[in-house]
């Protein structure tokens, strides 16, 4: 079977001979077949005038011609497609005028989505593949497969990119769905304004009319009791009518401080996925994708250097990469590893160091026990647990050596430390309560 492009080209050749040249140029220029759907061909036209005219005047001719070229066409519809402006090289008039900084501000007013976030520019790696898979499932069946979808992860790991990309993809796939992207802060301000203007009903209506709501940075809900209540009611309304809701946050719903229990359980009722920090290979992929989009070829050595020295946060990774790109564009030549090293030395985070004493104090405070008990040889259960967590955190997060940990915690043998470390590590896989405790403790060191 021939494809749509060829089909339309063949048809155009026939049509061209049966009508006048002027007519052909006026009405058939810039047309194309945009899609085919069970026997219906959709012809893309540049504007409404052309649509009307093709429909009224040439419909029979087009249908007949198309049918003679392909057997399984039953009808033809016309739709208006955005006409890509011809890429003219802009006349560079010499001007000293600065431009208004509008370039990055193309946000769709109707749904608040920024079209620059798509899955095309999204790098999938082990750190976000689960989230990505769930996102695809949501796009396939919005509202039914995973509702609500709760995406959480540290700052700058691509939560906003992912949620917006879901919105943009669904928008492209189901043009009739009304989607709305809002940050929790905006939602809260909207709510307060509606109270101030005495129009709470129009606020309620505004949010309830959407088929899908994406709410970003939900962690800021802590302490906003009235907003929580409003969100609770909104959630119920949307959820009951199977409308997709997507949240993003920097922590697990159970760890959001001051979040009412009924909301907590609702957030976690659908699907909760975490985006973690990208591993080395993913970082390389991200750097490559970024370089590709700016059409730059860089020595693989530099890429691997960047990937190994810039850990964690993708946003910071992009920042450092921008500096490198700028530099090489400025110099108009390649850039050496040494120059890169100079350039990004400030961006490399020193390994976290912390006084062991402080760690002990924080953890002792958290478990509400005496700091000195940790150093003692007490075998009381709650103390032992706390002591083991201290050892685990020191080893896992701060890379302190086993013997040093033992020595600092009241002269214990390094095998004791190893045992404690492994025990907590193992328990973490089964004990949800412990996971939460460790998460909360980690928050305190940030």
């Amino acid at each position: 079977m021939i494809n749509n492009k060829e089909l339309w080209e063949n048809a155009l050749v026939d049509i061209e001979t049966s009508i006048s040249r002027a007519n052909f140029n006026t009405w058939f220029k810039n047309t194309s077949i945009t899609k085919e759907d069970s026997g219906t061909l959709y012809v893309g036209v540049p504007n409404e005038f052309v649509k009307d005219w093709l429909q009224n005047k040439f419909h029979k001719l087009i249908l007949k011609t198309l049918m003679s070229h392909s057997d399984n066409i039953r009808c033809v519809e016309y739709i208006i497609v955005k006409h890509e402006p011809v890429q003219k090289t802009a006349l560079k008039t010499p001007t000293n005028n600065k431009e208004l900084p509008l370039a990055d501000l193309y946000i769709n007013k109707e749904d608040n989505l920024n079209p620059k976030y798509t899955f095309n520019s999204f790098v999938v790696g082990p750190f976000n593949e689960l989230a990505y898979a769930v996102a695809q499932a949501v796009i396939e069946n919005p509202g039914t497969s995973y509702n609500p979808l709760f995406i959480y992860g540290g700052t700058g790991l691509g939560k906003t990119h992912m949620t917006q990309a879901i919105g943009n993809t669904i928008k492209a796939k189901y043009p009739n769905k009304k989607i709305f992207y809002v940050s929790l802060e905006r939602f809260s301000i909207d709510y307060v304004n509606s109270l101030q203007n005495k129009t709470p009903n129009s606020f309620k209506e505004k949010y309830r009319k959407y088929d899908m709501i994406i709410m970003d940075d939900i962690q800021f809900i802590s302490g906003k009791d009235k907003t929580q209540e409003e969100l609770f009611h909104l959630f119920n309304t949307l959820y009951e009518s199977n409308r997709q809701i997507i949240f993003s946050s920097d922590k697990h719903p159970n760890l959001i401080h001051g979040l009412e229990e009924r909301l907590q359980s609702r957030f976690a009722s659908g699907m909760t996925v975490q985006i973690t920090e990208p591993d080395y290979e993913s970082r390389i992929a991200i750097i490559r994708a970024k370089l590709e989009s700016s059409n730059l070829v860089v020595d693989p050595e530099i890429i691997s250097y960047l990937a190994s020295s810039l850990e964690g946060n993708i946003r910071e990774l992009e920042g450092s990469l921008n500096a490198v790109i700028m530099q090489s564009q400025l110099k108009n030549k390649g850039i050496s590893v040494n120059e890169v090293r100079q350039l990004i030395k400030n961006n490399i985070k020193a390994k976290k160091t912390v006084a062991i004493k402080d760690v002990v104090k924080t953890i002792a405070d958290y478990y509400e026990i005496n700091e000195s008990d940790i150093y003692d040889k007490t075998r009381r259960k709650e103390i032992v647990r706390a002591r083991q967590v201290v050892m685990y955190i020191l080893r896992e997060d701060f890379n302190v050596s086993y013997p040093l940990i033992g020595q600092k915690l009241g002269g214990k043998d390094h095998t004791t430390v190893i045992h404690s470390y492994l025990k907590i590590k193992k328990d973490l896989q089964t004990d949800q309560l412990l996971v939460q405790e460790v998460e909360k403790i980690r928050m305190m060191f940030k």
């Binding site: 504007n47 009307d52 003219k88 900084p101 509008l102 501000l105």
Partner: protein, 365 residues
């Protein structure tokens, strides 16, 4: 077709319609005006496939019919008549006989079967007085970009908020925003009118003083009055979220009598360079507001303007043209200029009128 009517009635309609006819288009019939005589109305139709217009005039119809006739010929014929006389049109075979004053013309007609229909728009609908629409458009359209490389800024953006209708245009060097108060609360998400079509809308609707109905959908809009149907394509793009670049705070403000400022700018511009650069130097402590311009081939000029100043001293360069453009939509006696250093956008507002705002980027040198 055979009709009879007074010259005055039909003259304006033909001249208006002729402006819309397509020029340089591949299809010759688009360069013509379609005259449709049906029942008691003569419909004059013209389109260039971006705009379409139907003007209806009541005339005496002796015989119904349709003819397409070259627009420029017909409009030239009418623009040279001043007397209000009776004009008759009569089609004979492939010609149209026009009797006007004491001349008689025989004009060749063009086969009208190829003349396109005008799209009928259905969608969101609202009513606004034509004066308000043209006021809004006139206040901002000159700021739109005239190139069509970026269609979203080569147009005027219109959107409702509460019971106001906002008109915005920018060419990325300056931006104008006008707020028009409406009686009703509108709920649609805004649309973009192409710059060239805005010029035509202003020309046509400025002479009308009645309520008009505007209907919009994603790609097309129509403006309707009892005897006029106007339809235009819309730009299907997203206008930049311009509110984010409006400075929220200022370090310097200057309040000036508008006419004083315009006169001083004109003098200053005599000496400006080929980039039309004029420097504004403000020193609130010494109460100085100076316009400086310098052209290596001509000489230089310093003009002092009486102003009320507050804030810090600043020296900023502007393109003369971008500043003076703002005055065509300011009707108050004085204006206030809000500055925030010499790299951030500067805002010009009329004093005592919060419906208009003009934003201009400084030149850097």
């Amino acid at each position: 077709m055979k009709i009879e009517c007074t010259t005055n009635k039909i003259k304006n309609a033909i001249i208006q319609a002729e402006r819309i006819t397509g020029k340089n288009l591949t299809l010759p019939v688009l360069g013509s005006i379609l005259l449709i005589a049906n029942q008691k109305l003569l419909t004059i139709r013209a389109t260039n496939l971006s705009i379409g217009v139907d003007i209806k005039i009541p005339v005496k119809i002796k015989e119904e019919g349709i003819v397409a006739i070259r627009g420029d010929i017909l409009s030239n014929l009418f623009s040279n008549t001043t007397k209000d006389n009776i004009v008759t049109f009569e089609s004979v075979d492939n010609t149209l006989h026009v009797t006007l004053d004491n001349n008689k013309s025989v004009i060749k007609t063009i086969p009208h079967e190829d003349y396109p229909t005008l799209p009928i728009v259905s969608g969101n609908e609202f009513v606004i007085s034509s004066k308000k629409l043209t006021e809004g458009l006139k206040s901002v359209y000159y700021s739109a970009s005239i190139s069509d490389i970026k269609p979203e800024i080569g147009s005027v953006y219109i959107y409702p908020e509460d019971d106001n209708l906002f008109f915005v245009a920018t060419d990325s060097f300056r931006l104008a925003e006008k707020k028009i108060k409406l009686k009703q609360h509108l709920d649609f998400s805004g649309f973009l009118l192409p710059y060239k079509n805005v010029v035509e809308i202003i020309k046509i609707f400025d002479n009308i003083n009645e309520d008009i109905t505007i209907t919009i959908n994603k790609n097309q809009a129509s403006i309707t009055t009892p005897n006029l149907y106007f339809t235009t394509r819309l730009v299907d793009a997203v206008f930049p979220d311009y509110k984010q670049i409006i400075p929220k705070e200022y370090t310097t403000t200057a309040t000036i009598l508008k006419q004083d400022f315009i006169n001083s700018l004109k003098i200053s511009n005599i000496f400006s360079d080929k980039f039309n650069q004029i420097t504004i130097k403000i020193d609130p402590n010494k109460k100085v507001f100076e316009l400086l311009s310098k052209n290596n081939d001509i000489g230089e000029n310093t003009t002092n303007v009486q102003t009320a100043l507050t804030g810090e001293g600043v020296e900023v360069n502007f393109n003369y043209k971008y500043i003076t453009d703002a005055f065509q939509s300011i009707n108050t006696d004085s204006i206030t200029i809000f500055l925030y250093g010499n790299t951030k956008p500067t805002v010009i507002k009329p004093v005592g009128d919060n419906t208009f705002m003009y934003l201009v980027m400084p030149m850097h040198r």
